[in-house]
Amino acid sequence: MSEPLIRCRDLTKHFRMGSEVVRALDGVSLDIARGEFVAIMGPSGSGKSTLMTMIGALDTPTSGDIIIDGTALAEASPSALADLRGRTIGFVFQQFNLLSRLSALDNVAMPQIYRRDAVADLRGKAIDCLKRVGLGDRMHHLPSEMSGGQQQRVAIARALVNDPLILLADEPTGALDSRTGAEVIALFQALNREGITIILVTHDAQVARAARRILRFRDGRIVADDVNTDVWTPAPSAA
């Protein structure tokens, strides 16, 4: 078997809350292969979001190793970590995190200014990404002029603009109603078919069923790692 895209070994993360030590992660080991669609479920505080921030190189584990696409995060320089966040990984957040002053297109193009390499036609690339999420006709709208589902799709386009290998989505449907949530899930499935590895954190069992592999967390540990045979495929919507 080839090297997994993401490899976590004995991850722990301890937070100090007053005099008490909270074990947000308590010995997590996990391999995720290229092209997988993984859902992570579990109650609040079970460590699933903490794992996402570790894999996303936004935070460092108290102990344990993470290797992403051959890069050991513990040994990487801050600027190598920034490159990894910018190029290998795309983030999708529950609250979208769009910049309210910028148009949809400028929001999508925002990660491009941090690239160090010369790329031809950055603008065209950003426009393509917006078209890919079905918002080719909303390029110059401000976030405040768009619906929640549209805003989340802008955020997904932003995550795609530097051609990431991995999409990390933390409760991407948490702020959406079920119909627009289903549209976003359909979009994730389409992207996964194109080869992007997707890791999705959710409370929602229905949303989790969109993935082919479901991990269940409790008290900082993985308590179940199942293959989902009953994949939910919402119909992709026109808008």
Partner: protein, 409 residues
């Protein structure tokens, strides 16, 4: 991140908070404008003094009659008087002297065609043109024969022309100086005020002997007595040496013992002016220093607003880090913002300073001088203030933990 991208980010975020940016910029505007204006006023004063020194005649040493000490009372009269023979001796015996012009001067009543005017009569030889840097506007100087005799000829200054002739040509006309008729043979070029604020154009130049015997003579003055001798050194570097030699020669001529107080004084004009120039420099420095305080306060304003901005935009910073911004990209973004605030303030401040200086020159009548170097230094300094005071907030932003920043409310 490319500098251009940083600049675009900075301008868009400054535009997002127009009032706040404008007020911060105002602080820098006031700082820069006050530094430049204060220094301009100081330098203007210095230039004015330097011009006055030039107007007085460069390389000039004045020999003045000294004080006569009788008991505790000192007075300028009654000492050994200076004479035109002293001037001749100095010109002949002191090396490095270009000319030594004896001057006998006093006030006189001038009358021409019913108009009368009180002015200063200066009796001297043709050498005074060299010693005092005088030039003729029209007419001629005294001839050699006139210089040596009490000839009734006069060369008048512009103020006298204006007061007595009201625009008509004075050449060839006869004016009465203290009731003595004198023929006007020349008119002096305008010189303006001297360092003491006296009108140098309010003057009538006559041959020395005419002043001594016809116009200002009489009373107890001895023959050939003069008020002062204007000595011009060949070069500025010779002024000190000329002073020493004139002093030695005069002590010899007045037969003074080495320990005896001299009955005369040798003064270099540039020496006199140097003191005033130094005072002005001190004043310029002081004004500049006070104004710099305003600039520093402006810088603190930038720091304050940048700290607010970093706190407000913590989530944005976290997001930018999550999509690949390095700490140095964040640092650059906020430094550019601070620098841009300062630079905009600097440019407007320079323009304001130009306007202020012109207004001061116009309405207060002070002479101001804006040095391009000071403008450049102020601009660089204000940019520097932005970077220095922007650095702490920018570093604070760059050091944020991305995940904590993203979760910030």
């Amino acid at each position: 991140m490319r500098p251009l991208a940083a600049l675009r980010l900075a301008t868009s975020s400054l535009k997002a908070h127009k009032l706040r940016s404008a007020l911060t910029i105002l602080g820098i505007i006031i700082g820069v404008a006050s530094v430049i204006t204060m220094v301009a006023i100081g330098q203007g004063a210095r230039q004015q003094i330097e011009e006055q020194v030039r107007a007085l005649g460069t390389n000039v040493v004045m020999l003045l009659p000294g004080f006569n000490r009788s008991g505790p009372v000192r007075s300028s009269s009654g000492g050994t008087p200076l004479t035109d023979r002293d001037a001749a001796a100095i010109a002949r015996r002191v090396s490095g002297v270009e000319v030594a012009a004896p001057i006998r001067q006093g006030s006189a009543q001038l009358i021409y065609a019913g108009r009368n005017w009180s002015s200063t009569v200066v009796g001297s030889t043709a050498d005074i043109f060299v010693a005092r840097d005088l030039t003729l506007a029209e007419g001629r100087k005294f001839s050699d024969r006139e210089s040596r005799s009490p000839a009734k000829v006069a060369i008048i200054g512009q103020t006298v022309v204006k007061e007595l002739f009201a625009g008509a040509s004075p050449l060839g006309q006869t004016i009465r100086v203290n009731r003595v008729p004198m023929k006007v043979v020349g008119v002096l070029e305008a010189k303006g005020q001297n360092a003491m604020g006296q009108d140098q154009d309010d003057t009538v130049l006559v041959p020395l002997k005419a002043a001594q015997s016809r116009l200002l003579g009489g009373r107890s003055r001895g023959a050939g007595e003069v008020n002062m001798i204007a000595i011009k050194a060949r070069r500025a570097s010779l002024v000190g040496q000329v002073q020493t030699e004139v002093d030695a020669l005069m002590r010899e001529r007045q037969r003074l013992r080495p320990d005896q107080e001299a009955g005369f004084a040798v003064r270099s004009l540039s020496e006199l002016m140097a003191v005033r120039t130094q005072t002005t420099n001190t004043m310029t420095g002081l004004l500049g220093a006070i104004a710099s305080v305003a600039l520093v306060v402006g810088g603190i304003g930038i720091m304050n607003i940048m700290l607010v901005s970093v706190t407000e935009r913590t989530r944005e910073i976290g997001l930018r880090m999550a999509v690949g911004a390095r700490p140095e990209d964040i640092l650059l973004q906020f430094l550019t913002e601070a620098g841009l605030l300062a630079l905009i303030g600097g440019v407007i401040g320079v323009l304001l300073a130009l306007a202020l200086s012109l207004a001061i020159a116009q309405f207060a009548g002070w002479s101001v001088s804006i040095d391009p170097a000071i403008v450049l230094v102020s601009l660089l300094f204000s940019g520097g203030v932005g970077v220095v005071f922007g650095f702490y907030p920018a570093r604070k932003a760059a050091r944020l933990n991305p995940i904590e920043a993203l979760r910030h409310d």
